[in-house]
């Protein structure tokens, strides 16, 4: 009996000693042979969680990056991101980063009452947890403290600043030249030269003049340029004692237009002829406005129509109706899509910047002419820069491209 137990003990001992020497499957084979859902080994924690303040902003934004072993990238479904005020305190969930992504942009709120408020110059700690395909989570990797801060200057907009300063320099240069009496050539604009003729025509026919400022606001450059021309037209109209009708789309534009026309009448020495009813508000609904103006055209039959300002789809409706009543029409807008309609239906069209230049043409003021020349020089410089840009792109001169790149 004793011998049997001894033999049994020896056999068991041999098995225990020799078992580790049996050929073992490697991890991959074991993984393949085991269904994925019963793999219990959690993924490793992310490495080296780093936070960097996002530049060129008012703060409240932080870019998080972390490292992760490449061999685990297929096994990790996503990363969970948390933020807290202390490494051992409470963390708030921010969101997730997808598989293979090892960066996260934390955009906090700048509103103090908001639950997601992220103060500047405050220590924040971030926790990143990897989640495997089977849902098991890694140990958290904590990084910090990191701080966000606002910057005083947006370095990404330097090319814009350089452009504006350069343009301003040219403007001052040419204004000074014009002031000193230098003759600045500007090519003739048929539309502007026809203004006097158009007003004279209306006077001879005894019909009113219709001036449409468009559907822009008083802040639109095209509307502001139109005010200048309105002033000149109104002064001429006052001198000739012709009727002027100015239907307005926007109430603020109406107020400004009333002032402009009133001043023009006073300058012409005919303040008694001005009436607020000449410059009136119609509506600020686009097609209701054009219906109202068309009605004025068809009933009052103006001899001359001016369409100068910001126009949208109603431009052709206005211009065609004006054409049908036989009025002479002068149009000008900076809206690219509407220019073809005006060219087709009107007698004279000011295209784009010609509308802005009209004030310089009408008054021949040296200050205004100087700024016009500066625009031309600006265009010349841009043409050179475009040529350089084309060459830089073709030959891969990235340094030049980076120099003029604007980051908003």
């Amino acid at each position: 009996m004793e011998t049997k137990w001894r033999l049994a003990a020896i056999v068991i001992a041999l098995v225990m000693i020799l078992a580790p020497a049996l050929p073992a499957q490697d991890e991959g084979e074991m993984a393949d042979s085991m269904p994925a859902e019963i793999q219990m080994e959690p993924p490793p924690a992310p490495e080296l969680v780093l936070g960097e303040d996002v530049p060129n902003d008012g703060g409240h934004k932080l870019k998080l990056t972390w490292g992760y072993p490449a061999e685990w990238s297929d096994s990790v479904a996503r990363f969970l991101i948390f933020r807290g005020d202390a490494p051992d305190g409470e963390f708030k969930s921010l969101g997730e980063a997808a598989r293979g992504v090892t960066t996260y942009l934390d955009i906090g709120s700048k509103i103090k009452d908001n639950s997601d408020y992220m103060a500047n110059d405050h220590d924040f700690y971030y926790k990143v947890i990897a989640v495997a395909n089977n849902g098991t989570e890694s140990e958290p990797a904590i990084g910090g403290p990191f701080q966000t801060s606002g910057q005083w200057f947006h370095w990404g907009k330097v090319p814009v600043l350089v452009g504006v300063v350069l343009f301003g320099f040219f403007t001052v240069l040419f204004i000074n030249a014009a002031r000193k009496g230098k003759e600045l050539f500007v090519r003739p604009l048929a539309g502007i030269e026809a203004v006097d003729e158009a007003i004279g025509r209306a006077t001879e026919m005894g019909k009113p003049i219709l001036y449409v400022l468009g559907i822009g606001t008083a802040a639109d450059i095209a509307t502001i340029a139109s005010f200048t021309i309105l002033g000149r037209v109104a002064k001429k109209v006052a001198e000739y004692q012709t009727d002027l009708i100015v239907p307005c789309y926007e109430p603020i534009v109406m107020s400004v237009a009333q002032d402009v026309v009133k001043s023009a009448y006073m300058e012409a020495g005919r303040p008694d002829q001005y009436s607020d009813d000449q410059v009136f508000f119609v509506t600020n609904a686009q097609f209701a406005y054009v219906a109202g103006v068309n009605g004025i055209m068809v009933r009052d039959l103006p001899a001359t129509n001016f369409y100068l300002g910001y126009f949208a789809a109603e431009s052709l409706i206005l211009a065609e109706t004006g054409n049908s009543i036989g009025a002479i029409q002068i149009a000008g807008t900076d809206q690219i899509t509407q220019i073809p309609f005006f060219v087709v239906a009107c007698d004279y069209t000011l295209i784009g910047e010609e509308l802005y230049a009209a004030s310089a043409y009408l008054g021949r003021d040296p200050l205004l002419l100087g700024s016009l020349k500066a625009e031309d020089w600006g265009k010349g410089i841009l043409m050179v820069l475009m040529a350089v840009g084309v060459l830089a792109t073709a030959f891969g001169w990235n340094a030049i491209r980076e120099l003029v790149r604007v980051i908003l």
Binding site: G95, L105, I107, S109, K110, I111, N114, D116, Q286, F287, A312, A313, S324, I336, T337, L408
Partner: protein
Amino acid sequence: MNIFDKMVALDRRWVFLFLFVVVALAYFLRNHFTVDIVTTREVRSIYNFVENLEPGDKLLISFDYDPSSLAELHPMSRAIITQCYKRKVKVIGVTLSQYGAGMVEEIFREIGDVAEQEYGREIVYGEDYCFIGYRPYPAFVILGMGENFRVFFPRDYYDTPLDDLPIMKGVKNYDDVKAVLAITSGTTADFWVIYGNARYNMPLALGVTGVMATDYYPYLGNALFGLIGGWKGAAEYEKLVGRPDKATAGMPAQVAAHLTIVLFIVIGNIGYLLSRKTKKKLG
């Protein structure tokens, strides 16, 4: 006045009358002839993008148009929402046009009924879609939404706090939606490109009127991943979704109108050239 002079000086009212008759005939006889709608790459890219989304993914759709652009933009809005409901993609609606609210409500209601009848799905507000409302000054709203939707829209159009809507859970800004689709008839399209995509780099597609579409082709491939232009673009999208609707029904009329205009241009030019020749002969 000879026949050629008459052709040149044709009264515009004849042009209007002829166009009206042709378009009306083409519309009433639309069931008797069909137009082969060839889909373009820029429309297909939007359709494929939505088709590749997973159920539960979220899209922000901005309806920035008014009743005047209804004919062109409403069909494309309907087609896109139909596809979203079919794919169980959730829709967050917003409008930057003062008249947009009426459009949005009508579309969601109408397509919701279609989804119930055709796909057997009950569309629930707050879960399948929501409408966060209207704010003026589109540029600022687009910038603000890039930080957090709740900056300008703390509550939805029906005065429910955004945080109470299940669909808005986990949605803070553009990073939390798969893309932005802006259906617009005005300068808002420029604002989406300049302030939305250039600043926040979110995937952006536009649906615009036909006359505006040409302005946005340069952005395809960089700022925009797709573009639906006008009525034809809407008809293309309806074809892709498999639900021909008003845009498809209008294609025969559009083709007829184009051909009529071409015909009058040819008549006018023939009259002009022959009239000039006759005058030269007469000295």
